[in-house]
Symmetry: C2
Subunit: 236 residues, 2 copies
């Protein structure tokens, strides 16, 4: 069987900016423009996305409330959405596949957008696997619309009036993709615990988008394949 449904692919939007479908992300931003106050905890509902502004110098805490949930994360320069954390540029600066505490996260213009200042989890995250998208679920045999991280990014940014032109490689918090000595990749459930969090300090005014990954076909969000919410807040 050919896993590539070309007729379906051709029927979907050909722009990289347009979602392939919709969910509640589009109608439920945390505020009209993504602003919030320090200390106010927000939810990224299961299968959905949210965007939040993080002014330079402030720190965003993202909390893996259930411990098993992957959170695809992006950050854009608030003054130029063409600049964003680019994992392929970030990796080249830190000389590692996975950032750890103290590492700056460089943009596609090779300057820090944010710094990973704190990580209470074992530090297992992913930077090499694309955000899931409707094309991914199509190859997995899904024939209806399926929530996905790429659309969640597009909708979360659109919901605060800041549509993006492309879907960068995300920083997949808590996603567990081991790499063996032969460059072979594995797909494993998170090793994080309930309540583990990472903190990201903004090095410029930025907008962070998060998607509570809706993958429920392979056990990347825990063995039971039930996507859960995550939470976030600006520190005071």
């Amino acid at each position: 069987m050919n896993p590539f449904d070309h007729a379906r692919i051709e029927s979907l939007p050909s722009s990289n900016a347009e979602p392939c479908g919709h969910n509640l992300t589009l109608d439920n931003p945390i505020s009209v423009d993504g602003h919030t106050q320090p200390g106010v905890r927000h939810e990224v509902p299961a299968r959905c996305g949210r965007a939040v502004r993080v002014p330079a110098g402030q720190t965003l805490r993202i909390i893996n409330t259930p411990g098993t949930q992957v959170c695809d994360t992006w950050a854009f320069n608030a003054n130029n959405l063409n600049e964003f954390i680019s994992m392929e540029h970030a990796r080249a600066w830190i000389d590692r596949l996975i950032p750890r505490e103290g590492d700056p996260l460089l943009s596609n213009r090779r300057r820090p957008v944010m710094t990973l200042t704190r990580d209470t989890s074992p530090g297992i995250h992913d930077t090499v696997i694309a955000a899931c998208d409707l094309f991914r679920f199509t190859t997995l045999g899904v024939t209806e619309y399926h929530d996905n991280c790429s659309d969640n990014l597009r909708m979360a940014m659109q919901a605060i009036g800041q549509p993006v032109a492309e879907v960068p490689q995300p920083f997949n918090l808590w996603m567990n993709i081991p790499v063996d000595a032969h460059m072979q990749l594995g797909w494993q459930p998170p090793v994080s615990q309930p309540g583990d969090y990472v903190e990201l300090r903004a090095e410029m005014d930025c907008i962070v988008a998060m998607s509570a990954c809706p993958q429920d076909i392979i056990p990347i969000n825990g063995q039971d394949c039930v996507p859960q919410p995550v939470h976030f807040e600006l520190l005071g």
Copy 2:
């Protein structure tokens, strides 16, 4: 010293489509629209880029003439430049960091653009390091224009009338980036031999862009840091 020259970065084009400068790539396409004939060998001159059309079913051979030269490589759907080989999507399909013989190279719409059908080298290539760009050379202390793979892509495509909106993660042929058990990356010279080649069969009508990497500050193109040309041809 702060390695991030914000004043310089702000002075460069803020679009991801516009080159940060120019070299001879812009004026020397292989033909006005990138078409060529099987069996005609073309050069990618040292420090420059070229684009070539590869019709579905035809095979492109890319030759590491000096053995030590990295060739950043991209392929776009000729009918929709918003679709291109996306290493983060390709990795998720082959479950490997580095493609090998027989592996399809998936697009950001999760279907094969090309297949890696032949590789006479030891198979050491890179998919995790961004194309070099003027921002990279700025962090390396360069203060004038420096040829770079990102601009070479933009110019090579512009030279055949097919400008691109973004610079995807390239398939960095022969680039040697070892990954250790702690996810640490190394930067090593190529292990390929003079005349080693890879063959890529087009699974759709596509346009392939190649840049003979102009990196001459770190020894990624051989210990002597002298960028060299590579060559390519369509097979008959």
